[in-house]
Structures are given as structure tokens and as C-alpha cells.
């Protein structure tokens, strides 16, 4: 059994990160660092409360593209589902009508389970799934046309989008703006974050969507792993500084070569 060349440093860094994460989870009962509450996550009850007060529905989507099996977008969809699990519960508890635009068919089963679970937990009969979960299309522009139309018909008071978003970003968020919805948008697609930062009320940028699940769980062990995320960031910054200084002073690409090992 041999290590594959070019992946050795990656493995070492992964082991370090895993070690820190597990260590932080293990000491959670004895010590927990102060974790910054993400504004985008803390505002979710407010978004649902707004819908309850106005008697309007809440719209949720994880976007249209990719699937759970894809390396880049799968975790983003997963993050969206974690948030949805929480949102569904709160919506049912507060009697808010929930509308979910589905684009990734492989999430359909999970979404159905979350909705069913939310109604069962409140002791309420499960309504027609078609009224809540609405599969539009896997085609980008067919999906966004359907979402735009849906928003204009249903006039949601809040719109939550967590997942991979492509060129439909502007139309998605502008449709919400036009109907006066309060919007929380989160994506790790860096090229589309600027639209959301400008047009939506709350944004979960990049890594924040992955942290959302941990924060929502309220579990000390899970939230403690977020500290490991910060430690890993410090290691990256340190490597960057050493690399830049070393290269500037000696012209040697030591860090780059080390990372490429």
C-alpha cells in the first residue's frame, strides 16, 4: 500500500485538520470557544416570523444545478438541506406555508422526509407534498422562469436560497426583491456572491454555508469543530506568509513544492 505522489502533503494537512476537529469535539464538554453567530443563520426565525405576521408563504430552494453526488456542488446542496430541515420545522411550528422549488431531483426524497417529519413532530396531518415541494426542471432557465413565476403568484414574504447558484443568480434574487421578500441567500459559488451581497438582505458567503449546519445543530461537539476551521485558516495564512517571504527573499518556491509533494 503506497501513498500516491502529489497527495502526501494534502494527506498530512487533512490529518492535522481532522485531529484538531476531533480534539475540539472531544473537549467540548470541558471547554467551548466563543463562536461568532452567523447573522444569516440567526435571522432565520425572523424570516419565518415575518411570513407568519404577514400571512404569506416562505420560499426555499437549494438551486437547480448539480446533484448530491458531485464533488463541488454536492456539499453545498447538503448545507442547504441542513438549513431546510430547520426551516421546515420552524415553518410548521409557526403555521407558515412553505413552498420549496426543487431543481435537483436527488434531493426530493430527503426533502419529503424533512417535511413529513416536521408535520409529524407537531402532530399535524401531512399535506399534499405537491403543494409544498415543487419540482420545476433540471434545466437552468426553465427552473428560474418557474421560480420567478411562482414568486409573482404566491408573493412569499421571505425567500431562502442555500446551494449552488449559477447564472440564474440575478433573476432569482431580483424576483424576490420585486415581490418585497426578505431574502437570505447563501452560496459557495464565488462569482455569484457579489450579486447576493448587493441584492439580498442577508448573505452566507462561501464557507459560512458549511458552518450553518453545525450552528443550527446547537450541539456543543459539532459547533466546536468550527474552531478547528479557524485554526486551519491560521495554518493556511501562515503557509501563505512563509511562502511569500521565502520566495521574495530567495526566489525559491519551497512552499509550493512542499504542497505539491
Amino acid at each position: 500500500m503506497l501513498l500516491i505522489e502529489g497527495r502526501i502533503t494534502g494527506l498530512i494537512l487533512l490529518i492535522i485538520m481532522a485531529f484538531i476537529s476531533i480534539y475540539m469535539a472531544l473537549i467540548a464538554e470541558r471547554w467551548s470557544p466563543q463562536i461568532r453567530q452567523l447573522a444569516g443563520i440567526s435571522v432565520i426565525p425572523e424570516l419565518i416570523g415575518r411570513c407568519a405576521e404577514l400571512g404569506k408563504p416562505l420560499h426555499f430552494t437549494t438551486g437547480q444545478g448539480g446533484s448530491l453526488a458531485e464533488t463541488e456542488v454536492g456539499p453545498q446542496i447538503m448545507a442547504g438541506l441542513s438549513v431546510f430541515n430547520y426551516v421546515a420545522r420552524l415553518c410548521v411550528k409557526n403555521g407558515v406555508k412553505l413552498i420549496v422549488s426543487v431543481g435537483q431531483t436527488d434531493t426530493m426524497g430527503l426533502l419529503q422526509e424533512y417535511v413529513r417529519d416536521a408535520y409529524t413532530a407537531e402532530g399535524l396531518p401531512v399535506p399534499d407534498m405537491e403543494e409544498i415541494l415543487r419540482f420545476h426542471s433540471r434545466n437552468q432557465f426553465a427552473f428560474i422562469s418557474a421560480v420567478s413565476g411562482l414568486m409573482r403568484r404566491e408573493l412569499p414574504a421571505s425567500n431562502i436560497v442555500i446551494g449552488p447558484i449559477w447564472a440564474e443568480s440575478a433573476q432569482l434574487v431580483c424576483s424576490g426583491l420585486e415581490v418585497g421578500a426578505m431574502q437570505l441567500i447563501g452560496t459557495a459559488r464565488t462569482s455569484h456572491i457579489p450579486f447576493f451581497a448587493i441584492l439580498s438582505d442577508y448573505v452566507l458567503m462561501g464557507e459560512e454555508i458549511y458552518a450553518a449546519g453545525a450552528q443550527l445543530s446547537g450541539d456543543k461537539q459539532t459547533t466546536n469543530t468550527l474552531a478547528a476551521q479557524d485554526v486551519s485558516k491560521f495554518i493556511s495564512i501562515l503557509l501563505l506568509i512563509i511562502g511569500v517571504v521565502f520566495f521574495t527573499m530567495t526566489g525559491n518556491n519551497f512552499i509550493k513544492n512542499l504542497l505539491g509533494m
Binding site: M1, L3, I4, L11, M17, A18, S21, I22, L68, A69, P75, M78, A79, L81, S82, N85, Y86, R89, K93, V102, T105, D106, M108, G109, E113, Y114, A121, E130, F135, H136, N139, Q140, F141, A142, S145, A170, Q171, C174, L177, A188, T190, I193, F195, L199, M205, G206, E207, E208, Y210, A211, G213, G218, D219, Q221, T222, T225, A228, Q229, S232, S236
Partner: protein
């Protein structure tokens, strides 16, 4: 559903498969190359789930027609008829046939292109919202925006060479640095999420785990 099926089984399944894929990525383990098989499972599940989508879409629109939902039922008829015609064309003539591609090329493609071209219309409200001086950051944003606009316009590149230089510097240095910073943190966030999933700490995606 029992606690084992709801929570224990998915967690163990996730951990075992993730550990296997993890080892397979870093080590030459040979002889046990089942990752392609696992990936093909994913493809099959994704494809099969399209059926779920189809059922959901059909039921949703049939309900609208049954209820004669105001302003919507006739669109539902159009959608269902289009869907049936496309499925029939695909099944009888094949997905590569000229009949099937004609359907696609004469409807979906032009509609998609039209919507893509409307992208700029959707950008206008964004630009309008962005160019409002509210604080230091928004002022810096407007100044940057003006430089990029001038640098990208024909008159700017023809007569104001400096603005083009500043514009490309802003893009290739400041913008690239910010984008890379974001990408590094996204990568780290992804790895930590992976570790949480692998160790069974991330449970919010599981049925029945949220207790707000």
C-alpha cells in the same frame, strides 16, 4: 421508522463509504477498485430520482387542472402536453433523432438563450442598488466601479490608458486576491464539513435530528 434505520444506519454507511473513498484517494490499494461502482450507484440514483421529479411535476399540474386554478390551469395543460410529446418523441425516435432534437432546438434552446440575454436586465437593479453612497465601503465600491467601467469602455481604453492599467490591476490583484481568499476558506470549510460527516458529528441532514 426505527432509530437504527433513521440515524445509525445512514451514519455508519456514510462513514464506511467515506473512509473507503478517502483511503482509495490517497493510497494505491489496488485490487479493490470499487469506487467506480460506487460512483455509478450515484449516477443511477440521480437518474432514477428524475422519475420522482416527473411524478411530482405531473401530480402538481394535474391537481391544478382538476381544481381549474385561476390563471394557471391552461399553462398546466400546455406543460403536460409538451412533456408527453417530448417523452413519446424520445422513446419512439431516440434521443439522438432529428425529430427529438428539432423539438429541443426549436423550444428549449431559444427560450434559454432569450432568458440568458435578459441577464443584463436583472443586473440593472443590482447596479442601481450598488451605486448609492451610504458609507466608506460603498464609496470605495463606486470609485472602483467607475474605474472598471471607464477601463472597460472603448473610450477609456483609447484615451485613458491609465484607467485601463488601474482597471486591470484591480482585477488581477485585488479581485483575484479576494477571490482566492474566499476559495481557500471554502476549501477549508468543505474539508471540515467532510470530517464532520465522516466522524458522524454532522447530523442536521438526518431525518428527525433538528430539535430547535
Amino acid at each position: 421508522m426505527s432509530y437504527f434505520l433513521r440515524r445509525t444506519a445512514p451514519l455508519w454507511l456514510t462513514t464506511i463509504i467515506s473512509v473507503y473513498l478517502f483511503i482509495n484517494y490517497y493510497f494505491n490499494i489496488g485490487g479493490l477498485q470499487i469506487e467506480q461502482l460506487l460512483l455509478s450507484f450515484a449516477v443511477v440514483i440521480t437518474t432514477a430520482s428524475l422519475g420522482l421529479g416527473l411524478i411530482n411535476l405531473s401530480r402538481s399540474h394535474i391537481l391544478r387542472i382538476q381544481r381549474m386554478q385561476k390563471g394557471q390551469w391552461y399553462y398546466s395543460i400546455i406543460l403536460l402536453v409538451s412533456m408527453i410529446v417530448t417523452i413519446v418523441a424520445g422513446l419512439f425516435y431516440g434521443a439522438d433523432s432529428s425529430e427529438f432534437t428539432l423539438l429541443y432546438d426549436s423550444t428549449v434552446s431559444p427560450l434559454g438563450s432569450t432568458l440568458m440575454s435578459l441577464f443584463i436586465v436583472w443586473l440593472a437593479p443590482g447596479a442601481f442598488r450598488a451605486v448609492r453612497i451610504k458609507n466608506v465601503e460603498s464609496t470605495a465600491l463606486i470609485i472602483t466601479l467607475m474605474i472598471i467601467l471607464i477601463g472597460g469602455s472603448p473610450i477609456g481604453s483609447a484615451y485613458l490608458l491609465d484607467s485601463l492599467t488601474i482597471s486591470s490591476w484591480l482585477n488581477s490583484v485585488l479581485n483575484a486576491a479576494a477571490q482566492r481568499g474566499l476559495k481557500i476558506t471554502i476549501g477549508i470549510g468543505l474539508v471540515i464539513l467532510g470530517i464532520r460527516l465522516l466522524s458522524g458529528l454532522e447530523k442536521t441532514y438526518l431525518k428527525g435530528e433538528i430539535t430547535e
